[in-house]
């Protein structure tokens, strides 16, 4: 693109940047091509998790294995940090993960939109109740992928067979559950299980506020534009609606080059002024800085390493973003269509196959990139579905489940909800999603739950092993 570089913008490629002359002090500084700024030193010094105490994994913690043979523990578990120095806040006495351990850790959240049927994802075995009450959607024992004595996975998730997966069951709100997508999405996004006095920020946005660095962007929503869950106070979180988002940052047309240079020229980093005008200048320069990250995305590598499909591609983009070590700490993706009121077996299995294949490829990719131990993958969904089926589908329910991958203790966590003692035909949550969030905050990022959740719940032990 330097062929098109007009003379008033000095080219800034490594070869000739040294030859640039300083402008006379009265003139504006030479304008740097925002597409090729000077190399930024990596701030993410990844500290290897030395073999300081490999976590003990409970007997039920097997890697997902469809053949039932060679039940394997998840590969290498990172050290448990409970002896490590903690950075306790005054409001918690729990040991937190040491700050040097959490440096560079990334969270990838996959929101299963529409209310994922937990009972058809991680299926309780040998349940006469389920055979009776959800005959139209139930997956028989013999089809399940082996997991624990109590549970087997939906066979559509075979793509996860070689990865250690943790399941958190009985997950929902223990606080006046509601059957509305809107209502429950809002609660999950805001991180407020009761739904009362919802904060204007989202839970993941508040995590970003705690994780903010001098890098331009801390959180990014991929695939659906800005996610309310990433609404933040001070951290910059960006929504990229599709792989084409930020197209104006990549377009090589001279007009767009000039637009970008113009944006850079309007937002000099000279610390001049203050207040709203300075913030607006920062907004422009942060956008251009983020362009570097977007431009490093290697679509060809994604096509090679991932199966087809939107979710797989988006996870590929996520890997490309994480790999660049550019300050992104929370990535949020959406996988929609889980509102399976009818024809559930077909549609749900299809969605789970997409999820399993995409996530499996992502986990393998993270492994090959050396990022497996610094990346936690987890799912959310606004609610589970009813125990009883309804003409081949299921209606909005209450408790559901979440899947976690990465440095987690593979196996089933949480207390299984009763299949017979129900609340208006709904599973009663045994784990509140704020406890789940507290676990991510404290055990993954070392952030006291009181900093990001008003009710400051205690985290769940033994789920995250890093």
């Amino acid at each position: 693109m330097t062929d098109h570089t007009p003379s008033w913008y000095p080219s800034n490629t490594p070869d000739d940047s040294s030859s640039q002359e300083s402008p006379p002090s009265t003139a504006l500084a030479p304008l740097e091509d925002p597409m090729h700024p000077p190399a930024r030193p990596s701030r993410r010094k990844f500290l290897g998790f030395a073999a300081a105490g490999v976590a003990t994994v409970g007997g039920a913690s097997f890697a997902l294995n469809p053949n039932g043979d060679a039940l394997s523990l998840p590969g290498t578990l990172p050290g448990v940090s409970s002896d490590a120095p903690s950075n306790e806040s005054p409001t918690t006495t729990r040991p937190l993960v040491a700050s040097e351990d959490v440096a560079g850790r990334t969270l990838v959240v996959i929101e299963l939109q529409g209310g994922n049927d937990g009972l058809a994802t991680l299926v309780p075995r040998n349940s006469g109740v389920l055979y009776d009450r959800r005959e139209g959607v139930h997956i028989p024992d013999e089809e399940l992928l082996d997991f624990t004595d109590e549970y087997g996975w939906n066979p559509s998730l075979a793509g996860l067979s070689n990865h250690g997966i943790a399941a958190l069951v009985g997950l929902g709100t223990t606080n006046n559950p509601d059957g509305s997508h809107f209502e429950m999405e809002k609660r999950w996004w805001a991180g407020r299980s009761s739904g009362a006095d919802l904060p204007a920020t989202g839970f993941f946005g508040r995590l970003c506020d705690q994780l903010v660095t001098d890098q331009p962007v801390t959180g990014v929503a991929l695939g659906s534009g800005p996610s309310p869950s990433l609404r933040s106070d001070k951290a910059v979180t960006v929504g990229l609606a599709d792989p084409e988002s930020g197209w104006f940052l990549r377009n090589e047309d001279l007009w767009f080059q000039n637009l970008r240079r113009g944006m850079a020229a309007m937002s000099p980093d000279d610390g001049s002024g203050g207040g709203p005008l300075a913030s607006a200048r920062n907004g422009l320069s942060d956008t251009l800085a983020f362009a570097d990250v977007l431009n490093e995305i290697d679509n060809e590598r994604i096509r090679d390493a991932y199966p087809n499909g939107d979710l797989a591609f988006t996870l590929g983009v996520a890997a490309e973003l994480i790999r660049q070590d550019a300050g992104l700490r929370v990535l949020h993706l959406s996988h929609g269509g889980f509102d399976t009121h009818s024809d559930q077996r077909g549609s749900h299995n299809y969605l789970l196959a997409q999820l399993g294949d995409a996530m499996g490829a992502f986990l393998s990719d993270l492994g090959s990139l050396g990022l497996a131990e610094s990346t936690l993958v987890c799912t959310t969904s606004e609610f589970g579905r009813r125990v009883a089926d309804n003409r081949g589908g299921t209606d909005h329910g209450a408790a559901g489940m979440a899947m976690l991958a990465g440095p987690v203790a593979a196996g089933v966590h949480g207390e299984s909800p009763s299949l017979t003692r129900l609340d208006d035909d709904n599973l009663i949550a045994t784990v509140d999603f704020e406890e789940y969030y507290a676990t991510i905050a404290e055990k993954w990022f070392g952030i006291p739950s009181s900093e990001v959740l008003e009710s400051a719940p205690a985290p769940i032990d033994g789920l995250i092993t890093a």
Binding site: P6, W8, Y9, L28, L31, F182, A190, D197, L198, P199, A200, P216, V217, G225, P226, P228, R231, S232, D233, V236, T237, V238, G239, L240, A241, S245, G246, W247, F248, L254, W255, N258, L259, R261, G262, M263, A265, M266, S267, P268, S272, G275, P276, L277, A278, S279, A280, R281, N282, G283, L284, D286, T287, F290
Partner: protein, 414 residues
């Protein structure tokens, strides 16, 4: 005599988008006369009867109401009245997801009717407004076990401010006073069931008696914190300089002494030197930015010329969908990279109409002024000049200047 920049500042703050000829027509007029003209804005609203023949059922296009309102804000007629409707919506919040299209539309017309009228009348109507009763759970609140949501937010957010002279007991007592109201989801009719109302004496704000809606409103608005709370919120929205306790008192007194009429308060706010000093001190919220950018591109209709409603959604601010009962935050987050990304992603798709290309000189100052910016920073002017030099006038140079102007830091602020 008003300078162009003074006139532009007034139009930006008391409207949404400046259309290119607006300022030229006003320059040289006395600024105080201009302010009074803005305050005299009669605005536009519809009566309940106007809803007849309109479809407000489940089949209604989901984005109809916000889209219609966006078009009002983009309209060349949008003045202080429209600005005040926007202010009241972000003050007396309701989220359309919690109610029906019909009720949301009715509440919107109520706000339109009182936007420049009387605060007390507006508050009195909204307290038993169907959409508000839905949103804050006043619908079906029973005297024996009343829902406290409406009572709490009415005191805390709408009228007095947090912990401003009332107690938790007052919140509970207020909930009893406000009990007994029902909203019919089908017809939107709001009715009062005397048997379900708590009809015994209640101690509220230090007074024990049988309460009605009117005496409740009187008591709340007689609280010393009330006028300053509301006047202060309006100051933050329109003027947005830091507000001292004395000035808050002063503004509250203007509102109180006019018996809650809004125009005298607006007059006090806009003629004050603080208002002139406030140039560039407020960040445009996304909806305000979209309306202003649409005016710059001379667009009047959503879903034409490449301007689609989903682009508004991408900004994260949708009219009638405040994130919570406190409304939208009003700070500089609205010029962050998230916004720049959302704006540039979608609005660079807009076609620049020929009528715009034909009517503006291809110079940075002319195009910036065309976008309502009359006092740009040297940095911005230089950036535009260099871009124009590099691009050349005849190769979409004006388009480039226009795109840079709406993405400029100046355009992101008010």
């Amino acid at each position: 005599m008003a300078t162009a920049e003074q006139a532009a500042h007034l139009l930006r703050r008391t409207g949404f988008g400046i259309r290119p000829n607006d300022v030229a027509a006003l320059a040289g007029t006395d600024i105080h006369d201009l302010i009074e003209e803005r305050i005299a804005d009669q605005g536009w609203f519809q009566s309940v009867e106007d809803a007849e023949g309109r479809e407000f059922d489940d089949e209604t296009e989901w984005d109809l109401l916000p889209r219609e309102w966006m078009e009002r804000m983009m309209s060349p007629d949008a003045g202080l009245h429209e600005r005040m409707v926007w202010f009241w919506h972000s003050h007396f919040t309701t989220n359309r997801q919690e109610t029906t299209h019909l009720l949301m539309w009715r509440q919107h017309q109520t706000m339109r009717r009182h936007a420049l009228g009387n605060v007390k009348e507006l508050a009195r109507e909204l307290l038993v407004d169907g959409a508000m009763l839905h949103f804050l759970d006043g619908d079906g609140s029973l005297g024996e076990a009343p829902n406290e949501n409406l009572s709490r937010e009415f005191l805390e957010l709408f009228m007095l401010g947090r912990n401003a002279g009332y107690t938790e007991d007052d919140v509970r007592a207020g909930a009893r006073i406000l009990s007994g109201w029902w909203v019919d989801w089908e017809t939107g009719e709001v009715h009062f069931e005397p048997e379900q109302h708590y009809d015994r004496p209640v101690t509220f704000l230090g007074d024990r008696k049988r309460w009605q809606l009117d005496s409740y409103i009187d008591a709340v608005m007689a609280m010393p914190s009330c006028a300053g709370h509301i006047a202060g919120k309006l100051h933050d929205h329109l003027v947005s300089t830091p507000l001292s306790a004395e000035r808050r008192e002063e503004l509250g007194e203007v509102l109180r002494s006019s018996d809650w009429e809004i125009r005298p308060l607006l007059s006090e706010l806009l003629h004050h030197p603080d208002f002139t000093e406030a140039r560039g001190r407020r960040t445009r919220q996304p909806v305000e930015w979209v309306a202003a950018a649409a005016a710059a591109y001379d667009l009047t209709t959503v879903n034409e010329d490449g301007f689609d409603f989903w682009q508004v959604q991408q900004t994260g601010q949708i009219p009638f969908e405040p994130p919570n009962v406190a409304g939208w935050p009003d700070d500089d987050r609205w010029s962050s990279a998230t916004q720049v990304m959302a704006r540039a992603n979608s609005f660079l798709n807009w076609e620049v109409p020929n009528r715009v290309i034909n009517s503006v000189d291809p110079t940075p100052l002319a195009v910036l002024a065309y976008c309502g910016i009359f006092d740009p920073s040297e940095t911005t002017v230089d950036a535009l000049q260099r871009a124009l030099d590099a691009q050349g006038e005849y190769d979409r140079g004006v388009d480039l200047l226009l795109a840079m102007s709406v993405l400029s830091p100046e355009f992101a602020t008010l």
